[in-house]
Amino acid sequence: MFRDISIGQYFPGESSVHRMDPRMKLILTFSYVVMLFIAFSGPSLLVGALFVIIAYRVAGIPVRLILRGIKPIIPIVIITGILNMFFVEGKAIFSFWVFSVSAEGVRMAVLMALRILCLIAGTALMTYTTSPIALTDGIELLFAPLGRLGAPVHEIAMMMTITLRFIPTLIEETDKIMSAQKARGGDLESGNFLQRVRALIPILIPLFVSAFRRAEELALAMECRCYHGGEGRTRMRILKFSSADVYSALFMAGCVAAVVALNRLGAALWAL
């Protein structure tokens, strides 16, 4: 039952998006999110949607993956849409009792839905095309300047790496403990919610005990391999910006400029 969990799902590939520097991908993803939030007209959001579609095509990630990523958030999209429809004030085009739907509200609802969908698709693309280890590397290097101010950047990156490393191990362990409890008559699947939560206790306790034991052994093994924090550490893989990074940054800059221009244009048209 835990096999379906996939955190930071990664689809290995050789596309130019895959080969981009993770730092650039982080920067671009962040810029993309900002761009979506400054885009408030239909045409400018379409630029955002176009950007993400082109990026998926270049990365060679099938479109159905976008749909899979979007599925869980559809309720959120619908709820935000409805709230926008009813609560944005403007010229009423339809009303009953105390509720009224304005044209402005419908427009906002559609824009908001589009914005959220782009947001999810855009950020998902980063995890789809970047291996967790490259992502951690990117985060560590990108935030390195904060380390000089005393932020534990290396420690956080190391924690992320170890977490990613141990997720499969602990999932396997959970499966084993569950089988062991079931073999001894433990009932994990029937009963009401409360009973099922209570049935988890005999699984969580051994899992925690073993996780702590693992942590202790891992710490010892790391010390034996001369780990002494981030100071004086080198890396095997050195990240380098390539021409693909430069082009994609320029493309992103172009899109942001288009969004700003279309915002102005859209606002002018709306005013008419």
Binding site: R214, E217, R225, C226, Y227, T234, M236
Partner: protein
Amino acid sequence: MDIIEVRDVTFGYPAMDGAMPCAPVLRGVSVKIAKGEFVAVLGHNGSGKSTLAKHLNAILTPTRGTVLIEGIDTADESRLLDIRRRVGMVFQNPDNQIVATVVEEDVAFALENLGVPAAEIRRRVDEALNDVGMSKYARHAPHHLSGGQKQRVAIAGIIAMRPDCIVLDEPTAMLDPRGRAEVMRTLKALNKDHGITVVLITHFMDEATQAGRVVVMDDGKILYDAPPSQVFSHVEELTAAGLDVPQTTRLCYELRKAGFDLREDIISQEDCARAVARLLG
């Protein structure tokens, strides 16, 4: 030259409440290990063999006595990295000693910690993976490997540091027979081809017979320290210390007891078979 020198070491774990230390786990242990040796350390649970192993790269320091690694005292905390770079340690559970999510990244871990330049790391990682026969899996995720393969990755992570000695604390205890054979083959190749000193803590007799020298621990002391054929000739004493002897030795021992004329130092299966065949005429 001795790579490891343990001089009259006594060690007791401190009690939980900081009161009187518990009964000592090591009681006056002295042993010297020369460069290039393959030493197996045997002993039943609680004999102090793991505690001794932990003294060899300064995870533990003696309560009394000294441990010298190439002349460096392990009690000298400022030389900690020098000691650990020279004596690498591999533990029982391969899952709990692999740090990274990709095999080659894990092998690079120690080198990154030591501040080795990137190009040199790359070279040494490839070499280390090649030495343990895991080059094919360089880009794999560790959790998809078998136990024996994981343990070989852990060994690669240590030998990438180019240590003079590796200490392995029951590295095969959690492996299936095939994994055990893989690890033993790897260790013997490292010892023979690269001259790396190997200290193998084990409770498998057949692994100990493959070593050049066997140290038997019992109750915090060294009971025997000799080549395997000599050590295993003490069948009764070993049994009393809670240890098994290899099946071949046991067979010859029983035959000798029954009045047959057999040499005392037979441990390999071939020798045993030949001796029995000769008896049968």
